[in-house]
């Protein structure tokens, strides 16, 4: 195996240990990221932190298996769709608050008026969870996209230099 094409650039079989450990670690890192997002209300954590943790699992995947395989698995089109999904989820929760609260005060992002439960305060807690999920999706997609784009550029330059 040529050392130049191993790992980040090549993608055709790297180190056995690295691949095995990465294959074992990636699902647990993603599970931990989901835990941090969901438990942002009860403990330390939240959308930003959980999104970055999930994105770090994709970074680990790229380091172990190469950018080509990772790009096939997590395609750019889906990634760009996820970009805006998070922001629209956030703004959509705010709009839902306006619509559900029209009879009262019609305030943007006042989660208490969303009729999820019968208690105003619990509605606020659940609305916060929805918003954290939106933040997590956006941060995850953007960090992943930035990393993928940077790695693609570097590999392209190396190929041009070899040619």
């Amino acid at each position: 195996m040529n050392s130049k094409t191993r790992g980040m650039g090549g993608g055709k079989g790297g180190d056995v240990i690295v691949e095995t450990v990465a294959r074992l670690m990636v699902p647990f890192i993603q599970l931990f990221g989901l835990y941090v997002i969901i438990h942002g209300a009860g403990g330390p954590g939240g959308g930003f932190q959980g999104g970055v943790i999930i994105a770090s699992s994709f970074v680990l995947y790229v380091v172990a298996f190469g950018i080509v395989k990772a790009g096939n698995r997590f395609s750019e089109a889906k990634n760009i769709a996820l970009f805006s999904t998070g922001v629209y989820l956030y703004a959509g929760v705010g709009l839902l608050c306006i619509i559900c609260g029209l009879a009262f005060s019609a305030e943007f992002l006042n989660y208490g008026y969303i009729p999820l439960t019968h208690h105003f305060e619990e509605n606020r807690a659940l609305g916060m969870d929805l918003v954290e999920v939106g933040i997590g999706i956006t941060v995850m997609a953007v960090i992943t996209s930035i990393f993928f784009n940077l790695v693609w550029k570097r590999e392209g330059e190396e190929v041009e230099g070899e040619d």
């Binding site: 703004a91 943007f108 208690h119 807690a125 916060m128 941060v139 190929v159």
Partner: protein
């Protein structure tokens, strides 16, 4: 492809319109009448005899004693807002950095009782936040509830960073798809 672009443009216009509509509704900073800026409840007391004093702008001795007994500063004047509602202001001394009168207490008549509140946004966040939102994490409920429009802006900043990286660094011809 063409219809996708048009749909995306419509979504962008919709989101921009929503942001502008909402920004019109935000009260000015420090507006005492916005909901969370008012009222940390301190105590209540009997109203008989005190109300006339308050209407004349004097500080009743019972009220002053109660406030001092709890370690709060004495107000220097009372201003009447409307029937049954008063503001107690404090005029700081000359050496104070901002020598400007502060609204400190808010007194409201309910039945034959007087409710004494304090104007303080931050104390309300700390003391009342968990009861009002059912969330034990203070950072989360301030960021995602009381200051959620700010957090929406932060998410939009991250989104903009992602779009900028896409526009500047993307190389289409090198991709496998």
């Amino acid at each position: 492809m063409k219809s996708m672009s048009i749909a995306a443009l419509l979504f962008v216009i919709f989101l921009g319109a929503l942001f502008v509509y909402v920004a019109e509704d935000i009260p000015a900073f420090g507006d005492a009448n916005s909901a969370p800026n008012r009222y940390v409840w301190l105590f209540d007391m009997d109203a008989d005899g005190i109300e006339a004093d308050l209407n004349q702008g004097n500080i009743p001795t019972i009220l002053g004693d109660k406030l001092e007994g709890r370690g709060f500063p004495l107000p220097s004047g009372i201003a009447k807002l409307k029937e049954g509602e008063w503001d107690a202001v404090i005029i700081p001394e000359e050496k104070h950095y901002y020598p400007k009168e502060q609204k400190y207490y808010f007194i409201e008549k309910k039945g034959d009782k007087l409710d004494v509140y304090r104007y303080s946004l931050y104390i309300r966040f700390v003391e009342e936040g968990e009861r009002e939102t059912e969330v034990p994490n203070m950072v989360t409920y301030i960021l995602a509830d009381y200051r959620s429009y700010d957090t929406l802006g932060e998410t939009t900043v991250i989104f903009t960073a992602g779009v900028a990286v896409l526009l500047l660094l993307r190389r289409k011809e090198k991709r496998p798809e």
